[in-house]
């Protein structure tokens, strides 16, 4: 009996392993194709990167002010904004990521609309142009042009901002020695301006609807 069973088991296991290997191979090939040639690759890569994390290879930091604000909501001309242009070493290759924060609001790159930048141009190791790939689809987008010293940001609600940069990399001067610099995460508390002096508080329309606060909420379309 044993002599009869042994060869039969061996022959039945062979095709199963082969099928498994072929299946895994096809899966890898499909994933590679999607990653390289379709927008889904960005999503897959983003998902993988969010787990794997990315090492910052190069970082440019700027501070500027809003020069144009069309449907700017609670953001207005003259408001200060911070921009980080970073080149990260990700699982699926280098990725340029932009982080734009104006006042205490993270506009881009720190929320769900993480900047997955399709196009970017480098010159002498410095990123001089970066453009979000989703700009044609009505999604939030951003474009950074170093030579013009400008950033343009737009979102699907109609918010569109043009921001002038002062062009001076923050790295040239430690942030704590720059009197105009207020990190967006540690924005000046209400009543204190960027230089630390007492100033009249400027109320803003909140993005979060807490009781007692004026906020931006979804339009209440009710037929009466």
């Amino acid at each position: 009996m044993r002599a009869n069973l042994l060869p039969r088991n061996k022959t039945s296991r062979g095709p199963l392993v082969r099928k498994l290997l072929i299946g895994i191979g096809i899966g890898i090939a499909v994933l590679a194709f999607l990653t390289l040639f379709t927008p889904l690759g960005g999503v897959l890569a983003g998902a993988a990167d969010s787990v794997a994390g990315g090492e910052v290879k190069h970082l440019q930091e700027y501070r500027g002010s809003i020069t144009e604000a069309r449907n700017g909501g609670d953001l207005a001309v003259g408001d200060k904004c911070d921009l980080e242009v970073r080149l990260e070493d990700r699982l699926f290759g280098d990725m340029v990521q932009l982080k734009l924060a104006c006042g205490t609001r993270a506009l881009y790159g720190q929320r769900e609309d993480v900047g997955w930048i399709a196009e970017h141009t480098e010159r002498d190791g410095e990123i001089v142009h970066a453009l979000d790939q989703w700009d044609d689809e009505g999604d939030p987008g951003i474009e950074f042009k170093l030579d013009e010293g400008a950033v343009t940001y737009w979102d699907k609600t109609g918010l569109r901002l043009k921001i002038a940069l002062d062009g001076l990399p923050k790295g040239a001067l430690p942030a704590e020695h720059d009197p105009a610099f207020v990190p967006s995460e540690k924005a000046a508390p209400p009543g204190v301006d960027a230089a630390g002096a007492m100033a009249a508080p400027v109320p803003r329309v909140s993005e979060k609807c807490d009781p007692g606060a004026v906020c931006w909420g979804p339009r209440m379309d009710v037929a009466l």
Binding site: P203, A213, G217, R219, M220, V222
Partner: protein, 157 residues
């Protein structure tokens, strides 16, 4: 005589009910009186003169929508939240930018006067319980904006 008889019949069956419907508040819009006034750095200056209402029962809440028929963005929702009690969600008139609008959730804390009364009547229209009630607000927000006024509503369904 026959002609006069038909005239009375038509008047009684058709014209009379139509006149009565308008006299009693139109086609189920309810009757709303009063206004809310707002002013401040974020809401600007506005007056919401509500003239129509609708019950929130179809949308799953005990409360009413109030607003102005001619201004689609002038809306207010007064309701009883099972967890937080009476609340008012005010959409600031003329504040909409695309799909979003300036809104304020009002509860008792930030108001010197906050009274929301919503009463179910014994009447139902199309399986919706007709609501009566009133709200009276005098609120000053942390931003410095002020909302105050009184609204009364009857026959909302």
């Amino acid at each position: 005589m026959k002609k006069i008889g038909w005239g009375i019949f038509v008047a009684a069956c058709v014209v009379g009910p139509i006149i009565a419907m308008f006299a009693l508040g139109g086609f189920g819009e309810g009757e709303v009186k009063g206004e809310l006034l707002g002013s401040g750095p974020l809401v600007g200056s506005f007056a919401l003169k509500a003239d129509a209402c609708r019950s929130g029962e179809a949308d799953g809440f005990l409360g009413v929508y109030l607003g102005e028929t001619g201004r689609s963005d002038a809306r207010l929702k007064a309701f009883q939240d099972p967890a937080y009690g009476e609340m008012v969600l005010l959409q600031v008139p003329d504040s909409c930018e695309g799909p979003r609008c300036k809104q304020i959730i009002l509860k008792g804390e930030s108001c010197a006067r906050f009274s929301v009364r919503i009463e179910k009547t014994n009447t139902t229209v199309n399986d919706i319980v007709v609501l009566d009630g009133e709200l009276s607000l005098d609120c000053e927000l942390a931003s410095g904006d002020k909302i105050a006024g009184e609204l009364r509503f009857e026959g909302c369904h």
